[in-house]
């Protein structure tokens, strides 16, 4: 910041041109601090105004995000700021919209739930806001430094949120497991970052992307002698990918997710299953599509000198996505705790979302962003319904707690059904549109392996219907096991109504959202890649050698 003032020597220019780029984050930070102060001023047991204040903060941030969109990015332009550390483009704006919607709905879901838990305190809301600030910088960061620090801002806030009910043994345990594995994964990610810094000499993603094609040539001669740096590049890529797989909970790095989701307070589970996942994917996309696009495909070898070609990250992601989809869905089949079941279901959804990154065409990228948007709404909805079941003396997270819900709360049951069908990808709900784009993106590539991956994903999403229908069966057919009535708080009703309306609306009339996400998918720097480029002249389609062609 000091250097910035010296460089421009004009505070007004900074105020007008650069701070504008991070205005939503600035607003959220101010509101988060205000929430902390207000929390101390309010008497014990009357902390609800903090929730409304935080909600207002999210609202103002949305407005200022709207200004950013219409002033800068709506025409597909992008702007770099803060010494090329952050960028505002449609990709960032759409992801920020996802986080803000997720945070707003989560706050609405939490208000009554925290009363029920006897833990209504102001710092909960300010922690949500702080973690959203981190997420928003994750979506717009184009420097490894920004990405890392914003990832940690998000993660540390969420560690606290998971352990928020500190007298609950399960919450403690969930928080400890999440914290230890999360810190471990950031260590792994950081080692990958330090290696790529050592290889390219820069932490800026654009510079890294520029330097990589030179480094990955097997005959790279930096000081007069040939060195093959491809193994080191691959290792740093794998370390970074492993760190990101942890954050998005992809198999085999998913073991923290079921425990953390089950033990955390349900309102936190709702928040972390959508916003944290979307943010990690936003960073995943930035890192891999913006910083390492040349590592996607086979790293060319040299047949004359007996140097083999090495597989790039498309293969790695493809394998991980396949395992994630299969394992997530199979493990969900046998669960009896709804939160744990939804944790496995969210693992499999992470696998589906990854398909968009692999497809690497515009349909795939559109599906990637669209699906995260839709997933945010529908998953928050399902967790909202589970929160509604938490009432005096009933935890509400066992499958039996859903029994006979149709008789007790018909509207809640109908909404829950819509969210579940949407998660399963049944038309005319939004989930169908999202999955359609993801799978269509894969099939459009024409690569036989990717088409097989798409078929596997379709089959497994049919399997997933089994456990979503278990919910529906419990709600409609099973007799009631307890008679305690279900009452929905007004804030919860609002959140659920908004989510269900959006899910249905997007399912029936997706065009506005599609246009928005298509703009995001066309953001500069997200390099598309054609798997088919050499099919015509070589007659061989699988992973053609040669780096991808940028758009």
């Amino acid at each position: 910041m000091l250097a910035l003032i010296q460089a421009t020597n004009d505070l007004k220019t900074i105020g007008d041109q650069v701070v504008q780029l991070i205005m939503p984050e600035v607003i959220l930070t101010l509101f988060a601090c205000a929430a902390l102060v207000l929390d101390v001023m309010l008497p014990r047991g009357r902390k609800r105004p903090v929730a409304w204040l935080s909600l207002a903060g999210v609202g103002f941030a949305l407005v200022s995000l709207g200004f950013l969109y219409f002033n800068i990015t709506s025409e597909g332009k992008s702007r770099l700021g803060f010494f090329n550390m952050i960028v505002i483009d449609n990709y960032a704006v759409v992801f920020k919209l996802i986080f803000l919607i997720g945070a707003g709905l989560s706050i609405l879901l939490s208000i009554r739930y925290l009363d029920e838990e006897g833990e209504q305190r102001g710092e909960y809301y300010s922690l949500i806001l702080f973690s959203v600030v981190g997420m928003m910088f994750m979506a717009s960061g184009v420097d490894l430094l920004t990405l890392f620090i914003s990832l940690e801002l998000m993660a540390i806030s969420v560690y606290i949120l998971v352990g928020y009910t500190k007298r609950d043994r399960r919450s403690n345990e969930a928080s400890m497991k999440y914290f230890l594995l999360g810190a471990f994964s950031s260590g792994v990610l950081l080692y990958g970052i330090s290696m790529i810094y050592g290889l390219t000499g820069s932490t800026n993603l654009a510079n890294i992307a520029k330097a990589l094609p030179i480094i990955i040539s097997p005959a790279y001669e930096p000081l007069g002698q040939t060195v093959d740096l491809r193994y080191l590049v691959l290792m740093s890529m794998i370390l970074m990918a492993a760190g990101m797989f942890f954050k998005v909970a992809a198999v085999p790095f998913h073991m923290w997710a079921p425990d953390a989701y089950e033990g955390a307070p349900t309102s936190t589970t709702a928040f972390m299953s959508v916003a944290v996942k979307a943010a990690s994917f936003a960073m995943f996309g930035r890192l891999f599509l913006y910083g390492l696009p040349d590592l996607r495909d086979t790293l060319a070898g040299n047949a004359d000198k007996n140097i083999p070609g090495l597989p790039g990250w498309a293969v790695l992601l493809g394998v991980i996505a396949a395992i994630t989809i299969v394992w997530g869905n199979l493990a969900a089949l046998t669960q009896n705790n709804t939160k744990r079941l939804l944790a496995y279901s969210s693992i499999s959804h992470a696998g589906y979302t990854m398909l968009g990154l692999i497809a690497a065409n515009e349909t795939g990228y559109t599906g990637f962003i669209l699906y995260l948007f839709i997933y945010t709404l529908m998953n928050l909805g399902v967790f909202g319904c589970i929160i509604a079941l938490r009432r005096h003396g009933i935890q509400g997270d066992r499958m039996e707690d859903l029994n006979g819900l149709m008789k007790k709360a018909p509207w809640l049951t109908v909404m829950m059904t819509i969210f579940l069908l949407s998660l399963g990808g049944i038309p005319p709900t939004a989930g169908f549109i999202g999955k359609l784009y993801l799978f269509a993106g894969l099939i459009e590539t024409g690569n036989p392996w990717l088409v097989r991956l798409a078929i596997l994903a379709v089959l497994m999403s049919a399997v997933s219907l089994y456990y979503y229908i278990r919910f529906i069966r419990a709600m409609y057919i099973e007799p009631e096991t307890e008679m305690q009535p279900v009452k929905l708080a007004p804030s919860l009703q609002t959140a659920l109504a908004v989510a269900v309306l959006l899910v249905m609306l997007i399912g029936v009339y997706p065009q506005p959202l599609l246009r928005l996400t298509q703009k995001a998918a066309q953001a500069q720097g997200l390099k598309t890649h054609d798997y088919d480029q050499k099919k015509a002249d070589e007659g061989e389609i699988e992973r053609p050698p040669g780096a991808g062609t940028g758009r």
């Binding site: 430094l145 560690y159 043994r169 345990e173 928080s175 400890m176 914290f179 330090s194």
Partner: protein, 100 residues
Amino acid sequence: MIPLSWYLGLSALLFTIGAVGVFIKRNAITIFLCIELMLNAVNLTFVALSSYFGDMGGQLFVFIVMTVAAAEAAVGLAIIISIFRNRESLNVDEADSLKL
């Protein structure tokens, strides 16, 4: 002058010791210390590379990592204290009320 490769080798070794420790140790605080060891190994890489390149970017990164590690330590120790209050044990194998 000590060549760059020695620093990188040392930091790779420290990182491996930390990573292995995370998997074989059973006490939450020891695991946490192993994670700190991993982060500091990364810091060593950054400082060595940064002075090799003559580029300040790496050293800046070290400051950020140290700050983040401090924040993480504060939160992590708070979590570990709250789990100790409820269980009187720091053994991660005994933290099993969530089924695996």
